[in-house]
């Protein structure tokens, strides 16, 4: 585990980023919310149309939508009597990029193992 190596960055920005990441991971840690997000990333849906897709109350679906909205993964707009929801592609990308960046860290480490073995291939004799 590594300590915060870029602590020279403004700490307020870091805190805000971490709060945002917490909200995103929380929002995505639910099957229904991920399903809602998949739908609204493809196209705008009214909240009532979304609610009709699940075997749960309108209020429950509305709550899920609100969690996604607070995490910045979804935005709503009003169109007459309807509430229309659409997914925020950029925000979803930033969650995925957290794990993608960690993957890069590991790829570097594995490349170093590979290089070490290639340079010193002798297997120890027990």
């Amino acid at each position: 585990m590594f300590v915060d190596m870029v602590s020279t960055a403004p700490s307020s920005a870091t805190d805000a980023d971490e709060d945002r990441a917490d909200a995103m991971f929380h929002a995505l840690a639910d099957r229904t919310r991920r399903d809602i997000l998949r739908r609204v990333l493809v196209g705008e849906h009214s909240v009532s149309a979304l609610a009709a897709s699940y075997e749960m109350s309108f209020a429950a679906v509305q709550k899920h939508v609100a969690v996604l909205e607070r995490a910045g993964l979804l935005t709503k707009r009003r169109d007459g009597r309807q509430q229309l929801a659409h997914g925020e592609v950029e925000a979803v990308r930033s969650v995925a990029s957290l794990l993608a960046d960690l993957e890069e860290l590991w790829r570097g480490r594995i490349a170093r193992i590979d290089e070490l073995i290639a340079n010193d291939p002798i297997t120890p004799t027990p």
């Binding site: 585990m1 190596m5 990441a21 594995i110 193992i113």
Partner: protein, 164 residues
């Protein structure tokens, strides 16, 4: 390329990396069993790692620090929870404040499983590295290191090596 598969699990904040090395399992194990070799691969060239304690036995601990380009030291620890040489090690990885290596209680800890097995065709070793972070905060702290890493340059290095 040595990395053959990568799995991201957003729900559990788990990263699983599968890699294949052209070496017998005992040789790959040695990279983890020998602290002098481990510190060559653990940190990126810009943040070299130094292991000052390395007890690869169940309940054993490893203590390390990483040194930034401007000389600042960052301290970390492992608590080894299981060892089955040469095929498996499990450990917790966490932060420490200083060279006493006392775990920082309020800081995140990751759970790690490193598993090695000979490839069925005898051409080398398959390694599966699983790391689980218990919070987004924990993940981000590691990723801040990832920004420094410049991993693509490390991958290019290995391509250069293979091309020789």
């Amino acid at each position: 390329m040595p990395v053959t598969d990568v799995t991201h699990d957003l729900d559990t904040r788990t990263l699983v990396i599968t890699a294949e090395f052209a070496a017998p399992i005992e040789r790959v194990w040695q990279v983890y069993a020998d602290p002098r070799q481990l510190e060559q691969v653990f940190g990126p060239p810009s943040f070299p790692a130094t292991f000052v304690e390395h007890d690869l036995t169940p309940g054993g601990r490893a203590h390390y620090f990483m040194t930034s380009p401007d000389g600042e030291k960052y301290f970390g620890w492992w608590r080894v929870t299981g060892v089955d040489a040469p095929s498996r090690i499990t450990f917790e990885d966490g932060f420490a404040a200083d060279d006493s290596f006392t775990p920082l209680e309020d800081m995140p800890v990751s759970q790690n499983i490193y598993a090695f097995e000979p490839k069925p065709d005898g051409s080398g070793t398959r390694a599966v590295f699983t790391s689980t972070y218990d919070s987004a905060e924990a993940l981000q702290k590691v990723l801040e290191m990832g920004v420094v890493e410049g991993a693509s340059s490390a991958i290019n290095q290995i391509d250069d090596l293979l091309a020789r």
